[in-house]
Amino acid sequence: MRLQKNSLAALYSVLEFASDPGRQLSASEIAAKYHLSPHHLSKVLRVLGREGLLESVRGVGGGYRFTGNAKRLTLMDVIGLFENISAPRRGGRRGARSETEAFAPVEVEDAVAVVLAEIDEIAKATLRSITLDTMLKLMARRRK
């Protein structure tokens, strides 16, 4: 499973905010820390704000502040705002076949799809089970 850039930027951002919920940070501060495009990150933060995970702070030194529930929000909740990885993987015989798939025997394509779906299901279960709070604890353990 490979996450899209938006999802990764969102995960980095919410973890940064959730690590100190009272702190207010701007898009440019987070962009600099994680080597992200400030323009791109601004769009991501707007989505997080619209979904109630962040609160926009206006005025001089404005930015965003964390308003989510770190003990309840899972990695999947955040990723789900930017891409649909919960949907089951398309099986071989269902839907349009790509140019490469068109040359593969259907049973081969199906068997490969079954294995890839198994990997996806494990990844999704992992993302659904890890809250931001658990991630913060994991980060603290790795700092020791």
């Binding site: 899972t74 299901e121 659904r128 709070d133 658990t134 604890k137």
Partner: protein, 155 residues
């Protein structure tokens, strides 16, 4: 959260199960799984109860005379090619008593029992759809183990 969800940790104690606790254990399990299994629990009490048996643990969290949750586990030696490690195969807390630290206290108690037996690794296994309990174990620092459970349909 129900009123009993506000039970303070100070009022809660973890101890070995007693025969008189079984009815409440059955109630807690039935309330969560939707299945009442008295015969199964009588068998579990016989195998894991009667005080802390060597390598086997059946602990309950009690607050104000009521059983709020339980944990069951044992040390298994060299299963799956692994050195002895502690396995937790059941942990449950009444829904209205959650978020008060009962699950954490139960897990810590059984881990302490495992440590006293010289075990340094804790393992468990559960359905990947069980996000609630998966999240609990994750919050306790548990990570994916280097094992993959496999199954097949026997026709």
């Amino acid at each position: 959260m129900g009123a009993r969800g506000l039970i303070s940790l100070k009022k809660m104690r973890v101890r070995g199960v007693q025969a008189g606790d079984l009815a409440q254990v059955i109630d807690i399990d039935a309330g969560i799984t939707g299945l009442r299994k008295p015969d199964y629990w009588a068998e579990i009490l016989q195998r894991y109860g009667s005080g802390r048996r060597q390598q086997r643990f059946f602990l309950v969290a009690e607050a104000e005379g009521r059983i709020e949750g339980f944990v069951i586990g044992e040390v298994r030696d060299w299963e799956f090619g692994s050195p002895p490690c502690g396995w937790v195969f059941a942990i449950s807390v009444r829904p209205e008593a959650r978020l008060a630290g009962a699950g954490t206290a139960l897990l810590e108690s059984i881990c302490e029992g495992f440590r006293k037996l010289g075990v340094t690794k804790l393992r468990t296994m559960l359905s990947r759809d069980n996000s609630l309990i998966l999240s609990f174990f994750r919050s306790q620092g548990m990570m994916a183990a280097p094992f993959i459970p496999l199954e097949k349909d026997l026709e």
